[in-house]
Symmetry: C2
Subunit: 346 residues, 2 copies
DNA sequence: TCCCGGGCTGACAACGTTGTCTAGGCTCTA
DNA sequence: TAGAGCCTAGACAACGTTGTCAGCCCGGGA
């Protein structure tokens, strides 16, 4: 414990470096570098000696030093809301696959829907000198990223638009999707339709509400304050909102749920009811088809969002710096499974 | 376009460095470093001048250089199977939270259940000099990590044990969980019980099969080759397996599903059947309670697995290097929702 | 025999930061 | 007023790698 194996090739507790490998192989530092990087111009015999030394010492190149020297990290950052959310898993995975195809690693962090945390995370990633950044915004002011973008950090926003700055953005057609979903309910005879959504400061929530309103207006239906409820998506709040709009003298006969978490809670509430209430939810979810009745949804393709964003990002990294920022909108798809086709009860 | 703003404070296209900030503020390099790191010993006036220069130039410290100098990256790596799998989302998030509490970032990658890719990823993370590594093994030989561990990379394996090396491991009680689940079916009168699981080379799959066999044996029940099916968890394979054991002269009256993906497919198969078949699945999943009947499961706590592993890792990083590797096993929990309590039909 | 060219190889600086050490100016006390 | 001591500030080396450049050796041609 007192006497450690110090001073043979490398200091105890420290990793061997190319210098150590070079010393052991009896060659120059640069030759080791050449072998490690598979550069040409090394005789087979020298290469073998170096390889042996690498094996013997358990050498592994220090990428921090490499990055410092080369300027590129071959890694990109992903700032999302919550890795545990089933919507972001596939999105994240899609980004990772594209990154992998470009030889880059993915560093990610969850903002937990907190703008300060988003900023902290994004800037920490910039300090690591990620080559690019994919951001699912929690806040609505991204001017803090301007110096970074100017300095060459390719940045793409996904799922929600950037605030106060111009940048590439990949979105689902939240407005159109919600409008289609509500129109679907209207087509099945509903006139009193509730909307339960996320907090209005969140772009997707606002857009979906706008879609709901557009569909109601298109159909010449009145709107009732009591039919719209916005707020956090925790089960308690959503349950209360649903129960409120389902009671009273003129209860809604159908509900449009603003996202997957809301939908699930609404399904639970409706399961406890005796009369049928129609439901369409935004976002698809596993097993939606197995419930009784199957839950009709507006599906968005999370993987496609991630893939599109990441591809856009690497296109910029591969030279298209001066292309103007673009806003890409992906279509949504109505999947009818039964719950949206129930006729109005009562 | 030809004449760029070169040579004022920093080269065009490159980020400003502390040197640039120092020049602009008219102070020494080290003073900038002090300000950036909030060290003491700088007069308020000097600090203000430096801060102004930082703002003006949009300076952000280069953490690569910092890491090179300091030796610690304040980041840990997570190698898992598939970020898009609903089981790994919460696990990953839990690891991230612990990392965040220790001021570290999380770099992660999916192995896609491919041992070579797992190794490639893990070693790439080591080259980045992550301080520690959380690994959900895809392969069964991890000797390739020995030099890294020896060099000080704290490593913890989760969900499945390390192969061929001694290392900290955090597992669920797969054997006990499966045994309890099958015993639950037996207690409700079943004698012909099927087992559909993942590939036997995967540790969890093997353990769960062992649990199934133990429960059958404990109850003195015979075992039939035709009741056990192991293989990939894609829907086609699982569907075929389920249909096979549900047909013939002596069909099973209950099925134990080896993981969440299998369970979901089995639920689909059973939904198409006229007679009731009992089911218990390993892994809980959202909405299991809303299906008809509710799906009984053996639940493991993915977040607890991740949290426990990450805490173990940081305890090592915080000085407990010489503690012997430990194997921690977390209990599972039977959640009865109806599908496991169906009596044998026919 | 000398010179030239090409293939290998290594010395050295640089990337941007932090730790160490020293210098200079100030205050405080005798 | 001189000396001690503290506080602020900057010069410099080092972290481990890669790019540049120069040197060596060997073979071939004149």
């Amino acid at each position: 414990m007192a006497e450690t194996a110090r001073g043979t090739e490398s200091r105890y507790g420290n990793r061997p470096t190319m210098k150590d490998v070079a010393a052991r192989a009896g060659v120059g530092l640069k030759t080791v570098s050449r072998v490690v990087n598979g550069e040409s111009g090394v005789t087979p015999d020298t290469e073998r000696r170096v390889q042996e030394a690498i094996e013997a010492l358990g050498f592994r190149r220090n990428d921090s030093a490499r990055v410092l020297r080369k300027g590129r990290t071959a890694s990109i950052g992903l700032v999302l809301e919550d890795l545990a959310d089933p919507f972001y898993g596939p999105l994240s995975r899609a980004v990772e696959e594209v990154a992998r195809a470009h030889g880059a690693l993915l560093i990610n962090g969850s903002s937990a829907e907190d703008p300060d945390r988003e900023q902290e995370l994004a800037l920490a990633l910039c300090a690591r000198r990620v080559d690019g950044l994919v951001v699912i915004p929690a806040g609505d002011d991204h001017r803090y990223l301007e110096p970074e973008i100017k300095a060459g950090v390719a940045t793409v926003f996904v799922d929600r638009p950037a605030g106060q700055i111009e940048a590439d953005t990949v979105l689902s057609d939240n407005f159109g999707g919600a409008r289609d979903g509500v129109a679907h309910l209207i087509a099945h005879g509903h006139r009193r339709i509730g909307f339960i959504g996320d907090q209005p400061r969140i772009h997707t929530a606002a857009e979906r509400l706008r879609g709901y309103r557009a569909a109601m207006e298109d159909a010449g239906l009145p709107e009732d304050e009591a039919w719209v409820s916005l707020g956090t998506t925790d089960a308690g709040r959503v349950r209360a909102a649903a129960e409120a709009m389902l009671s009273g003298p003129e209860p809604v006969t159908a509900i449009f749920a603003g996202n997957n978490r809301v939908t699930v809670t609404v399904v639970r509430v409706l399961a406890g009811l005796s009369r049928p209430v129609a439901l369409v939810g935004f976002d698809d979810f596993e097993l939606a088809d197995l419930l009784q009745p199957g839950v009709s949804v507006i599906a968005q393709d999370a993987a496609a969002l991630g893939r599109t964003a990441a591809e856009r990002l690497f296109r910029r990294l591969d030279g298209a710096q001066d292309v103007a920022p673009e806003r890409i909108e992906l279509a949504t798809r109505l999947i009818a499974r039964g719950s949206g086709e129930l006729p109005p009860a009562g």
